[in-house]
Symmetry: D3
Subunit: 161 residues, 6 copies
Amino acid sequence: MQDELSLVTYSMARMVDITHKKDLVRIATARGKIHLRRETIQLIKEGRVEKGDVVTITKIVAIDAVKRTSELLPFCHPIGITHVDADVRLFDDYVEVEVTVKGLAKTGVEMEALTGVSLALLNVWDMVKKYEKDETGNYPWTKISDIVVVKKVKLDESQMP
Amino acid sequence: MQDELSLVTYSMARMVDITHKKDLVRIATARGKIHLRRETIQLIKEGRVEKGDVVTITKIVAIDAVKRTSELLPFCHPIGITHVDADVRLFDDYVEVEVTVKGLAKTGVEMEALTGVSLALLNVWDMVKKYEKDETGNYPWTKISDIVVVKKVKLDESQMP
Amino acid sequence: MQDELSLVTYSMARMVDITHKKDLVRIATARGKIHLRRETIQLIKEGRVEKGDVVTITKIVAIDAVKRTSELLPFCHPIGITHVDADVRLFDDYVEVEVTVKGLAKTGVEMEALTGVSLALLNVWDMVKKYEKDETGNYPWTKISDIVVVKKVKLDESQMP
Amino acid sequence: MQDELSLVTYSMARMVDITHKKDLVRIATARGKIHLRRETIQLIKEGRVEKGDVVTITKIVAIDAVKRTSELLPFCHPIGITHVDADVRLFDDYVEVEVTVKGLAKTGVEMEALTGVSLALLNVWDMVKKYEKDETGNYPWTKISDIVVVKKVKLDESQMP
Amino acid sequence: MQDELSLVTYSMARMVDITHKKDLVRIATARGKIHLRRETIQLIKEGRVEKGDVVTITKIVAIDAVKRTSELLPFCHPIGITHVDADVRLFDDYVEVEVTVKGLAKTGVEMEALTGVSLALLNVWDMVKKYEKDETGNYPWTKISDIVVVKKVKLDESQMP
Amino acid sequence: MQDELSLVTYSMARMVDITHKKDLVRIATARGKIHLRRETIQLIKEGRVEKGDVVTITKIVAIDAVKRTSELLPFCHPIGITHVDADVRLFDDYVEVEVTVKGLAKTGVEMEALTGVSLALLNVWDMVKKYEKDETGNYPWTKISDIVVVKKVKLDESQMP
């Protein structure tokens, strides 16, 4: 039995217990970038990407991803998301996505915001694959980077709805 | 930057912020029909549809669909559904499905009821495909129609549990 | 045991066995309508619906729904979808959605096309709720109808890729 | 119409209405076993199972399964899970899994704990298939058994957070 | 770097590579039991379980679970399921579920059959909770057991469709 | 009608038609980093992260994410994944994740590999949140970056299984 116990101790996989934490308004904003070729950005700006309207569709992907966070990340609790706001901004050689999530929850919503940003950036990549590939089907320039939490707050009880 | 901003403004995709709305008991009933051949309805009534018991299975599909609404519709918030009731009624040349959803929520549950009705009607179609197809594999008579919200209410706070 | 057997017989729930059917190119087109107030259609046309670009987002909902059909309908087999095309057409007092699905599959893809149309129409409803509600929060005019399979074909083996 | 009504009555499929039940802290513990060959258990203990670390991965499967219970079982309500704890214990000829679930909910969480245990045991099987199969690819010794609810409690309101 | 490498080696988590295995018809049958009170079985037989028709609904749960196996178990590959058959048999003090799965696949479908059986048995439990609980809300008699693979075969190439 | 048509044209959202492309063995490798505090990396190396074994669990998250890519990204086709391999490497101040995906498919699997990497990196973040937060609950150092496709190939027909 000793072996058994030590193995159990080692192989922990523990969801934090939030049962006794208060439901508070939690807000988190995350942001990230995808570096693309200038010509590709131009196609997005001109609405000429064959798969469709990159900006609108990327926002939808972000919202859907935020809602599925607790299915994708084992230690994330299911959370009552009350708002998602996604911005997609086009610069000369990169696209920036910023996602803000609000929830009335016992734990912060930064993983939800980060998941929204990450899937949104992946969707941008997926929609412009054709314009980013070289002749071998590889992507010498495309890169997702700088995914960070910009801001995370919780309102105190006096600010509760 | 001007172009960028105007594009962002155009390509809005905005989930309504319900953070500060009250949790109230919300109830919604939706209803719809699927038109089938009289012979098909007869088979359902006699329990002779090969795939199985259309009425029971359709109710299960409705319940499952109601619970997955926020995964299927981007702007639907995840909601704590507390009750689903599905009725499947057989008439001479159509089947009617009515779904009532209750939840303790910050927003109405009519999309949940409508999603339950829609998937339920699709399941009826799927279960009787064989009897509705013509010799080319097409469906000259089958039609889903009249999907409406029958009633939507919210209980005021004095009626809260 | 007799009771048991008869009950088993009655309570059938049977997925069709497609193991020995050929993989063929299957194509199905489904179509449906949502009746809206003329003012609401006008808002969609002018890009002034607060939740965002109804046409683009509805297409995305259709594509996502097509891919999830076998999760939503118990008797649908998982199918290798190879193409989805969704059209959203604005008329004076209704919106029409048409979805075409292609797959290399052992069974038809009409349920996939119908599921795409149904969820697409529900998304239109969800995005324009605000403009369709009366003062009691009900929907006296809004109605989904005429969901049909427009065309279903399978290519014979000589037409296979 | 009489036939219709009696059929409707028969074919009930009813989710319990929990709208007016109180949100209380609910805790449930479930447990089960999978019988394996002694040699297989030895491989797990020595960390030599080719697919990876059985104990850790099984815990993750349990947590994921708990969170998906209401998608898998039609009559389970979506519940705000606040904690999952999974233990995987290695004995001479079986592996025991115990899962404890907490939630702030209107209904008990025993189905969530049982679903966690069941999928965890299936994952153990899946990870050691290779060592349990006989030469025909069958499993003469492998068996899942004794899945029970060990304990189920709800805290009364004075113990609420 | 040495530490890093040894840790990587230890922490393996490896999906088997089936790229170069042949697509063959794979068939697997799994079976299991849930022990219930005799009075509960009687209620099922008489169609008096309040939540609905246990036998039919359990079959649907089995079919749905089979199709979702690769989402629930990390090392299961997505498989083109072509048939699921679920039997639910009522005995004096237990219910037996048997699930047969067929697929045209590069790997066996026994985990799919076992997942179908497991979720089916959980659904039986969930539907009869009310009749199995003692006064403390616990389950002194209810138990799931004897989940085994009854038979697993693959057809050789000459038997292929 | 002219307005209608021009709007449809503008609001395209088009899944590429891969019906007539060949099923070939497709392989893609993606890679990315998460920058963490040195102290956090040390805790991972020593197996002292409270939530559990970061390396093993991150691999499981990667595998699960790869299999769900077509649910998360609208334009990704469902693909028969035949292999996933995930490496998690610990450096002094960052963790690197590399995911290789194989499939027998009509289209490349780079989005699957990228989705695996992205969710894996998010899981690392989620598991070490506690050690990365400053006193305000924010993350001044944590950053995901350099997510790229390392290599993408397809085997030609002569190399097919």
